[in-house]
Amino acid sequence: MDVKQPNKILLEVNGLKKYFSTGGGMLKKKQQVKAVDDMTFTVKEGETLGIVGESGCGKSTMGRTLLRLQHPTAGEVIYNGQDIAKLKNKDLRKLRKDIQIIFQDPFGSLNPRMTVGAMLSEIVRTHDIVSKKEEKKYLEELLLEVGLTPAAYWKYPHEFSGGQRQRVSIARALAVQPKLIICDEAVSALDVSVQAQVLNLLQHLKKKHGLTYIFISHDLSVVKHISDRVGVMYLGKLVELSDKHDLYERPAHPYTQALFSAIPDITEEKQERIVLKGDVPSPLHIPSGCRFHTRCPLATDKCVEEAPVFEQVRDGHYAACHYAE
């Protein structure tokens, strides 16, 4: 996408779509939920790409489709010259050594009947990361690295607090020495003071291991803090994508502008804000033309009829709006 960036492209996503069919019974017609609808972007090696958007806009679905935990309806996801969307099961498992995911729910994402040690060693053995002799030492070092004691090796998930469980999830992702980690709301369920601990840990690990992150969150302040570039999603589509400073200082899309002005920030007293009218439309009934037109303060007739193209408005700054400057 950007020619000037010297960084190697690690992951290339082209026209990714994921539709779900829902409903559909004897008499009802099946309906389509367009959870992810034609997304195109790249992830560069060593960067953190933040993805923000409101609930139900398709962030998690996108993350899972990238890993092919869900089959994409259309589009390509190119990693290392291979299209993940078309990989055979065996190759897919190999690929899953390179790309990992961390989930939001620190309770649901660990098997309640397995000790941390059993869980980690299973993964390490699956991918032959270290020899059996060195395994124990490797895992203990890993636990230390994510800020747990080696004693954690013998514990069950319910014996940890939420923040510690999230550290275990991070250890699991890290165990296979991946290149890319998708963090899906990885800190959203944590308390503020614990959230900062985990954010720092993620930053530290990234530097140390040269990781690349796709950081999905609904919290714009957190995303701004941790990302290099940020993409904004609305109803299954990217509406804006740019370097974070440019995005936060000069948002081009009306939705991004409203989103930023809606976040209450503690550094200021009550601020002027753009309060959007109405609700997020259901992904079952996506509005015609620009899908933001039902809530956009700048919408015109053109917006109702014609969908804007996702294009570069400035150097490395993309937006999908007829009137973006």
Partner: protein, 350 residues
């Protein structure tokens, strides 16, 4: 500030706990605060610190095993702790209203929302069905529900999260309460919808001269809506001040740490300042200052002696640092004889 205004609600030295098989565990340890007429008081704190328990005690809606172990809750000069179930239910929804975090679970799925709002009106006012419905319609208009007349006949699941929260607010306001308690009213909502609801609450408060006690863990929301802020930690009030005062000049090490540790839109930092460890569990509560297991400034006596709440007009804080005794206290020796209990955080090596 205090002299001019009358207190609408006065909570004094409230102790609340849970009965267990043999013993009972204390959760709220001497919580005291006031909500003045016409103000918004925000209560902040991490999950499990007792915010919801405080509001449920006020409403007389504690879960079965919960018990008020001591203290007073004074509302309009009457002590709510001594009221029986019947007297409380007459107050609830009338002078005293509450909205909850999850609007879906607090609405009855088998009745239309209009019926539910009308029902509340009829419980507290001697009015007919028709009148109650027209009151419901009026409330729906007030809270900004589009095409309110049609919406009256919708069932809860037919409305979006934001709409449902508006219905809850309409229901809470139907009988002109004097105090509205809102427990995390926007936590389940998206930011753009949250902005709508916060604006609505602000408008309504200004219009009706009602007091709001709002509970949240989101400091951003607090800075947006609060007149005064109360910070809780592990079942205690640790700091209370007016909005800007608290954010610009936090006094308690916990509040300072909390404010520093959230990423801010207008600032850039490589690493976030953090508070080490996590909140102690009720069974392993430190003897002295409850924050002492995580406090970077802790002195030796902090582990054994509980600091008093230093009351001042503008800014209340519970920390030895703000007392005369601080200078004489022994610096932290780095070892614990028996004061520093092992807590969950023992698993974290930092």
């Amino acid at each position: 500030m205090g002299e001019k205004m009358d207190a609408q609600l006065k909570v004094e030295d409230l102790h609340v706990g849970f009965k267990q098989k043999k013993s009972s565990v204390n959760i709220l340890n001497g919580v005291s605060f006031q909500v003045y007429k016409g103000e918004t008081l925000c209560i902040v704190g991490e999950s499990g610190c007792g915010k919801s328990l405080t509001s449920l005690s006020i409403m007389g809606l504690l879960p079965k095993q919960g018990e008020v172990q001591g203290g007073k809750i004074e509302f309009e000069g009457e002590n709510l702790v001594q009221k029986n179930m019947k007297q409380m239910s007459r107050l609830r929804g009338n002078d005293l209203s509450m909205i909850f975090q999850e609007p879906m679970t607090s609405l009855n799925p088998v009745h239309t929302v209009g019926k539910q709002v009308a029902e509340v009106v009829r419980t507290h006012r001697q009015v007919g069905k028709k009148e109650a419905y027209s009151r419901a319609l009026e409330m729906f208009e007030l809270v900004g529900i589009p095409s309110p007349a049609e919406r009256l006949h919708n069932y809860p699941h037919e409305l979006s999260g934001g709409m449902r929260q508006r219905v809850m607010i309409a229901m809470a306001l139907a009988c002109n309460p004097k105090l509205l308690i809102a427990d995390e009213p926007t936590t389940a909502l998206d930011v753009t919808i949250q902005a709508q609801i916060l604006e609505l609450l602000n408008d309504i408060k200004a219009e009706r001269q009602m007091s709001i006690m709002m509970i949240t863990h989101d400091l951003g929301v607090v800075s947006e809506v609060a007149d005064r802020v109360l910070v809780m930690y592990a079942g205690e009030v640790i700091e209370c001040a007016n909005n800007r005062q608290l954010f610009n000049n936090p006094q308690h090490p916990y509040t300072q740490g909390l404010i520093a540790s959230i990423p801010k839109l207008k600032e850039e930092k490589d690493e976030l300042p953090i508070i080490e460890g996590s909140v102690p569990s009720p069974e392993k509560m430190p003897k002295g200052c409850r924050f002492s297991t995580r406090c970077p400034f802790a002195k030796q006596e902090c582990l054994t002696d509980s600091p008093p709440l230093q009351e001042a007009e503008e800014h209340t804080v519970r920390c030895w640092m703000h007392t005369d005794r601080w200078e004489e206290m022994t610096p932290w020796k780095g070892v614990d004889e028996d004061g520093r209990e092992a807590t969950e955080q023992d698993l974290i090596r930092s």
